[in-house]
């Protein structure tokens, strides 16, 4: 019984939380906080119970027929169990942060209501067991994040919101066509380890078009160039929203979609034989380089982080498009690594804006002395993004590089190298300013960290980014879990020993 209800509960808990929050009065601050936090904790618990269960080879699945041959299907498979605990965990941290951050904002009821709905849809994306369910929650994600993006309600937010919708709703339409085509061809949409389209090899032209319809549809949220335009603009949203959009929800939903398409719809071997993964690899590489180059030129901190996201998320696409188990590990584990690392950076950017009203990199001289803890977390995040050992980001790059050699595509190493240099070029100067330049106001004001609610979240995630890298080989880390998934994806004998 509980085996079918747990996945459903993981989606419904935040929905119910959200609806209850809508009905609270704007002034019932304490009750709203209690509701939000208990929802987040409950959700994390449900996710962890499923994680342990799946590790012991239990099955958690919930089905609901919508039409003949079409059903909503939530299933805690190995991939889902990578993404679900990540989302649930980061949601809890972000909720804490948002409670502190949104203190002075209007309309908090609306904000937290949609915030919860947004998490519900992310859970749905994570647990979707077929393409239809994925699509349903993917579209709902657009709808639940739109109010968050335009939350400020000024003319600029609204204009950005419209652009956001143009990109995402358009992507949804493309995706829908791809989905229907798959369904009409194969008669099923259910994710299968190793893919389910290989038997329809004779329709290879259609399948190639379908692949790019699906990847294009997901590529908008995963911000593949030139579909990335909405992402830097969406920075008008409040900081917790940016953190959530970049690290967990929107961008990750897109990347996760690409992972699902390659592994569970086409199957990586079949996709490789169609010749589509090569194109995806080049596409992802271009995005990695383009994002980094654009990041260099930004003075606005959040925009630099945004372009960095454009670049970093494509590591995932790159990893899955190299047909080989080691690269798979690198790409998939980056879902987690990029998540914890990038969310740290956004929390810190939010703190800078909130406590010191600093938005630009050129204003960051010497802030390390004023916000030592925040900036330490920021440093951890930045080093992780560059991929310096022993940070989590290093693990990703290590596996990606090894994987490209194993698959006989050494040019990928060059991309990784160039990208690492660029990452260093846009992060290290920030660190230099923060720690080594004198403060703009002489004498420098004393250390003055923001409230605890804003300080704890980046410290926690920053530490996580360090620990997942440092103890990558220990049991129950994202890396170990990814190796397990990879062993299932490549059944004919692969043993992870790089």
């Amino acid at each position: 019984m509980s085996h079918s209800l747990l996945p459903l509960a993981t989606v419904l808990i935040p929905v119910i939380t959200g609806i209850m929050v809508f009905f609270l009065d704007e002034s019932q601050r304490r009750l709203r906080t209690v509701l939000n936090l208990s929802g987040a904790v409950l959700n994390l618990l449900a996710a962890l119970v499923m994680l342990v269960g799946v590790f012991q080879e239990q099955a958690f699945a919930w089905r609901w027929p919508l039409l003949a041959g079409l059903e909503l299907y939530l299933e805690a498979d190995a991939f889902a169990m990578l993404f679900t605990p990540l989302s649930a965990g980061l949601w809890l941290v972000t909720t804490v942060y948002a409670v502190g951050y949104m203190e002075h904002y209007h309309n908090r009821r609306r904000f937290f209501g949609f915030f919860s709905l947004c998490v519900a849809t992310t859970m749905g994306v994570a647990l979707a067991g077929n393409l239809l369910t994925f699509f349903v929650f993917y579209e709902l994600l657009t709808l639940s994040t739109y109010p968050l993006v335009v939350h400020r309600g000024d003319a600029r937010s609204l204009a950005v919101g419209t652009i956001y919708l143009r990109y995402t709703v358009g992507a949804g339409a493309v995706l829908l066509v791809g989905l229907i085509w798959v369904h009409s061809l194969a008669g099923t949409l259910e994710f299968t380890e190793g893919g389910f389209l290989a038997p329809f090899q004779e329709h290879d032209t259609s399948l190639r078009i379908i692949f790019f319809l699906l990847v294009g549809g997901f590529g908008v949220k995963a911000a593949l160039v030139p579909l990335h335009g909405w992402l830097p603009m969406a920075m008008v949203a409040p900081a917790p929203v940016s953190a959530l959009l970049h690290a967990v929800a929107v961008v990750k939903a897109g990347a996760f979609g690409i992972v699902r398409v390659v592994y569970d719809v086409f199957g990586v071997t079949f996709a490789h034989s169609l010749g589509v993964t090569g194109i995806l690899a080049v596409w992802a590489s271009l995005t990695i380089l383009y994002g980094s180059l654009r990041a260099l030129a930004q003075d606005d901190l959040k925009r630099r982080l945004a372009y960095s996201t454009v670049s970093q998320v494509s590591y995932i696409a790159l990893g899955v498009s190299i047909a080989g188990p080691v690269a798979t590990i690198g790409g998939v584990v980056h879902l987690i690594h990029q998540g914890v690392t990038k969310i740290t950076l956004f929390f810190c950017a939010g703190n800078l804006a909130e406590t010191l009203h600093i938005h630009k990199i050129s204003e960051m001289d010497g802030v390390g002395r004023q916000l030592p803890l925040t900036m330490s977390a920021f440093t951890l995040g930045a080093l992780g993004m560059i991929g310096i050992p022993p940070m989590a980001g290093f693990i990703t790059k290590w596996y990606l590089g090894l994987g490209s050699l194993e698959a006989g595509q050494p040019w990928v190493i060059l991309v990784l190298l160039a990208s690492t240099l660029l990452n260093a070029a846009y992060f290290l100067p920030i660190l230099h300013r923060v720690w080594f330049r004198p403060a703009r106001h002489a004498p420098p004001p004393p250390a003055r960290e923001g409230p605890l609610l804003l300080l704890l979240p980046p410290l926690i995630t920053g530490t996580l980014a360090l620990l997942t890298g440092l103890f990558a080989a220990a049991p129950f880390t994202p890396l170990e879990w990814t190796v397990l998934i990879t062993e299932r994806e490549y059944p004919d004998g692969y043993h992870a020993s790089p």
């Binding site: 919508l66 039409l67 709808l143 829908l176 066509v177 009409s184």
Partner: protein, 472 residues
């Protein structure tokens, strides 16, 4: 079956003698009983397939025959779902003096009865009668609130409706002269590919296109639907125009055998409706006009049934019909609340409404999901099936229409929604709305969403008696 028609008819004169409070009870009673009647019909059709009933036991050539199958259950069910909440809403919305309300309620129940009768009758002449009943009830309802704009809209509506009836009647006369029967089943049996049949069918179809406000005979719809009081607009857009589509489907797929060319023509009209209606909706500055043009566009999807002609497409278009009906009624009721509070419906002056009318605005948001065909909504399931039929048959132009229409709908609907996020602290607080006004739009919009979880039984309900049984 008879109950569904007679019940509202009985209620009509009763309204004249009731005080407001008792009237509210009457709405509840009629709603409950009609829901019960439709429920029983649904169960019987699910169990035993299509039913036929001869009123008074007279039988086909002389008496009045009624029939019900999957196709008629769709509008019946929609009527049973939409009328009750809209009636309760109307009860609190209409603030005219009592004498005018005296006119309103009998006409309202006459309309309800006409809606059920027109989809239950089995004979093309009785269809004419019920269509006239609908027209004669609907046109005065448009003007019930008074005003020059409403009067102009109503007169144009009346003109088109009467012309439509006239051409329809001409067509019926031709068919009767050629085949000597008016009964739908008998007519299907003797249908021949000769000139009188073709001309008769063409005349009937033109008449129904005018009644159903299908592009390019839609031009009466936006002024009439925009000027009518909100509950009336809701019922006109959600239910009354659907009758035209229902009858077209009945005649084209069950009775006659028109060629693929003619079916393609209808499909192209649908495509024209989708694009023309959506573009017009994008250009409008007033909420009710946007919603009205959106109806023109959404009716276009339904016509894709004719070129696609398969069981999947049939169930898809009926689901789209139900989904659109519920969401559109919700939107018009929401627009009614906006007019009630602001006194105007200019979209660019909507700042602050989101906070002032939270449930209304939520209803607009939820209805948007349905009307853009996003999941999870009944309209999404309908669109999915239409798309699937189109892809299966390689009719890619239908895919373009369906997907393009969805994108355009997102364009004009999110334009409305966006304004709610602008905060205008200078806004005065309004008196709270009565609960019927505040909650009925949201209830309808949520129904359009949540019924999608009943999609599988719904689909089974719509297929009994379909002409594609046996073909994949």
């Amino acid at each position: 079956m008879v109950i569904a028609i007679v019940l509202p008819l009985l209620a009509a004169p009763l309204c004249l003698f009731m005080s407001r409070r008792v009237l509210f009870g009457l709405h509840l009673l009629v709603s409950l009983l009609s829901a019960l009647a439709v429920g029983v019909l649904m169960r019987e059709v699910m169990a035993a397939g299509p039913l036929r009933y001869a009123v008074g036991g007279w039988g086909a050539p002389l008496g009045i025959d009624l029939q019900v199958d999957g196709l008629s259950l769709a509008p019946l069910l929609l009527t049973a779902l939409v009328m009750p909440p809209v009636s309760l809403y109307a009860h609190d919305y209409l603030t005219q003096p009592a004498e005018q309300q005296l006119c309103f309620w009998p006409l309202w129940y006459l309309l309800w009865s006409g809606l059920n009768a027109s989809v239950l009758t089995a004979d093309i002449f009785n269809v004419y009668v019920t269509l006239e009943v609908l027209t004669l009830a609907a046109v005065p309802l448009v003007v019930v609130a008074g005003g020059a704009e409403a009067l102009r809209g109503a007169i144009r509506y009346l003109l088109f409706a009467l012309l439509g009836s006239l051409t329809y009647l001409l067509g019926v006369a031709l068919l009767f002269a050629a085949h000597g029967t008016l009964d739908m089943v008998a007519l299907a049996g003797v249908w021949a590919d000769d000139l009188p049949s073709a001309v008769g069918l063409a005349l009937i179809s033109v008449g129904l296109l005018a009644k159903g406000a299908i592009f390019p005979l839609h031009i009466w719809l936006p002024p009439a639907h925009a000027a009518a009081p909100a509950p009336v607009s809701a019922v006109l857009s959600a239910l009354v125009v659907k009758v035209g589509f229902y009858l077209l489907a009945r005649l084209w797929l069950w009775v006659a055998e028109p060629g693929a060319q003619a079916a393609l023509l209808l499909g192209l009209l649908g495509a024209g409706a989708v694009f023309y209606g959506s573009l017009q909706a994008l250009r409008q500055g007033r909420l009710k006009l946007i919603i009205a043009y959106s109806t023109v566009a959404q009716l276009g999807y339904l016509l894709l049934l004719f070129p696609l002609a398969s069981a999947t497409a049939l169930s898809g278009s009926l689901l789209q019909l139900i989904g659109h009906g519920l969401a559109k009624a919700a939107l018009f009721l929401a627009a009614g609340n906006v007019l009630h509070v602001l006194g105007h419906d200019r979209v660019r002056d909507f700042a602050g409404l989101g906070r002032r009318l939270p449930t209304t605005w939520m209803a607009v948001g939820v209805a948007t999901i349905s009307l853009t065909g996003l999941p999870p909504s009944v309209a999404f399931l309908g669109k999915w099936q239409l798309l699937e039929a189109a892809v299966d048959q390689g009719q890619w132009w239908c895919v373009v229409v369906l997907v393009g229409g969805g994108l355009l709908a997102a364009g004009y609907l999110f334009r409305i929604l966006a304004h709610a996020f602008v905060d205008d602290p200078a806004y005065p607080d309004a008196h709270p709305l009565p609960w019927t006004l505040a909650w009925m739009p949201l209830a309808l919009a949520l129904l359009a969403l949540l019924m999608s979880f009943l999609g599988a039984p719904l689909e089974r309900l719509l297929l009994p008696g379909n002409p594609f049984a046996g073909t994949p």
